[in-house]
Symmetry: C3
């Protein structure tokens, strides 16, 4: 069932109080009527590039090839920082060159990364404080006019290839299946689940006996789903993005433990043979 | 003015901080390009099935036949609870079998209720913690490919008929026009209006003299609209879903009275002849 | 790239907790399938008509001709206040006659303003408390069935011309380039930026030396963009709607200064020749 309505997702630190997000949608819809805009989230903490990098990367697999992801977390707006247009994994990305695409670009060495010629896109009467609306939304609208198979030539119409900024803080930690693995909380979700940079995949990738310590709390068992423990129990599991997280069944782990983003978290795996002894 | 863009509404307890809602939209749009997704609300209190049942039922009349309502309030995710697909009143419903559809199913004895064969829909690399994205969104996308007139045969392609879970706490109270009616607050809205399970219909269904007591406050008159009383006055009225509610004109009743969901509320009707004496 | 999908924007004081906004979308989509609905904001403070007037006017330039803006901030719902349909600047507006369109109507003397015949649009079983859903959404849906070039004759089908209510509090202050200009904070955004009714246009419209005082803080320099000052610095600039605002680079000015909407703000311009002496 084909469609000619390209998807543009929006991720910002704008919140939902103001009309800023709507203004970006207005500009894109003016320039590319029929574009299908989906809000990823607008609750990135203000100017938190690392949080944006994680949230973006954990969400994009749910979207089809050809999707354009517009990310506006842009503390350097109005300075001479570049604006990037990226092709990676069949999807497209637009946003400031400040590290928000670090995870995507480190994983995909074949990504095409363009520093966009901003003068080609800047709206008349554009501001010095809202490039999301005045430059980036028009770039996303342009990408949305390309067919699904955008060539490198098409992208080079937008600007010049560049080497993007990469941030170390956006890297994952792989679990050590025989020893302790040290990570940190990178996101606290709406339920108070404490989500870490320890990327596991799924529960069966860990030995049967595995537990977590966080803050002053130790030996939290790693289970498979929330309801596997009694209501009100503290538990750990592998969340829907493959990350180790700490939760309370029917409750709020962040409030219970009084910890949040940045807190250390340790995964301890006990290999099956050791556990059997 | 016909359209081939089926509407899917989303109701969850996910909040708006995370990308969870967006991921569900991405999956549905991948599988059924052009689907028209409308957010009902994502502010159901975490795991509050009763609240979801009321909010869903009070909202669906505004949507056209053929609308698919996807409701993800799912504390049992990852357990063996069923996932339901329901046809009732010309609309469709998808969600876990935990009572969220109690109001719809008690009202409509002819509803078709299917326990979906989840293995037919589960996404590759699906998680044990996010069936909204990994199983239910694909089911909704499938329903959206049917024509408006989905037959029972079509629905039986999804799974087997089942008897759903029903929750008593989702029942309404009918007003007694001659005596006291006892109900409770089931929802506090953005304005602080305290909305009850006493379902009236409209103001003219009650006698001229009717008043309400809630908490320690008595004799709150039941009026027709907010502006009918002086600014700052406590009042009761029949809200836009036909429910008795307590409000403050230009203010916040929940804060004023310091009460919320679960508080008892009593409607006292004085029949016209008694009032005349 | 033409489209037959008219845009309807929604601005309300409904918040995002309830299904009220969704119900309006359901009604419009029922009556005009394919309509493209964009949320402007639902975070107008309850019943705050002045805030709505400013937020609306600052957002509409981002939308294309033919856009229909539906604004529901309606403390007088259920009384005999009119409901307006307005054509101005190639766009359309629907909402209660309480001053929310003051800014648009004062600027455009040639606007067509109709008091809508509500009986033509009221939904069966409509309520006395939710005209946004029961009368205004149907009016917006009707406007969306017109072609982009709606004539005055088309609009007169909806009701009779009227003189709308205008509110003085929605006026802007023009900067005095040689003396002090007194204004006030009209909006505090998600970042804590304090946005004023002093409308400048852009930074270059002011002399090189210009500074701001707000609350007990004086001599805040007016710069061009947030990152032009050290992180954590208090600054003033001309925001994306051309308004003078006070901000903190990487921080929250409202929290830092402990002030909000209504606070006085003074712009002091020093003409270049005076500054040179």
């Amino acid at each position: 069932m084909p469609t000619d309505r390209p998807i543009v997702t929006l991720m910002t630190d704008f919140g939902l109080r103001d009309t800023y997000v709507a203004q970006m949608k207005g500009v894109m819809t003016s320039q590319r009527p029929g574009v299908n805009i989906v809000d990823l989230t607008h609750a990135i903490p203000p100017q938190d590039i690392v949080a944006a990098a994680f949230q973006l990367d954990d969400a994009i697999d749910a979207f089809p090839p050809g999707t354009i992801h517009l990310v506006v977390v842009d503390p350097g707006v109005g300075t001479n920082r570049d604006i990037l247009a990226v092709r990676s994994g069949g999807q497209f990305f637009v946003g400031p060159d400040n590290g928000i695409f670090s995870r995507i670009l480190r994983r995909d060495q074949s990504a095409i990364v363009i520093a966009v010629d901003q003068s080609k896109f800047k709206r008349k009467a554009g501001s010095a404080t809202f490039h999301g609306r005045d430059i980036m939304a028009p770039i996303a609208a342009r990408l949305a006019t390309f067919k699904r198979e955008v060539s490198e030539v098409d992208l080079l119409q937008l600007g010049q290839p560049t080497r993007p900024m990469l941030l170390d803080a956006t890297a994952d930690i792989e679990p050590d299946l025989f020893e302790n693995t040290e990570g940190r909380v990178i996101w606290c979700d709406h339920f108070g689940n404490l989500i870490s940079n320890i990327k596991v995949g799924q529960r069966s990738d860990l030995p049967e006996r595995a537990d977590v310590s966080i803050g002053e709390t130790e030996e939290i068992p790693v289970v498979r789903c929330y309801a596997e423990t009694p209501r009100g129990s503290l538990l750990a599991l592998i969340g829907s993005a493959g990350r180790l997280e700490v939760a309370v069944n029917g409750g709020n782990a962040s409030e219970r433990l009084n910890v949040g983003v940045g807190t250390s978290i340790t995964l301890t795996c006990t290999p099956t043979e050791a556990a059997d002894r």
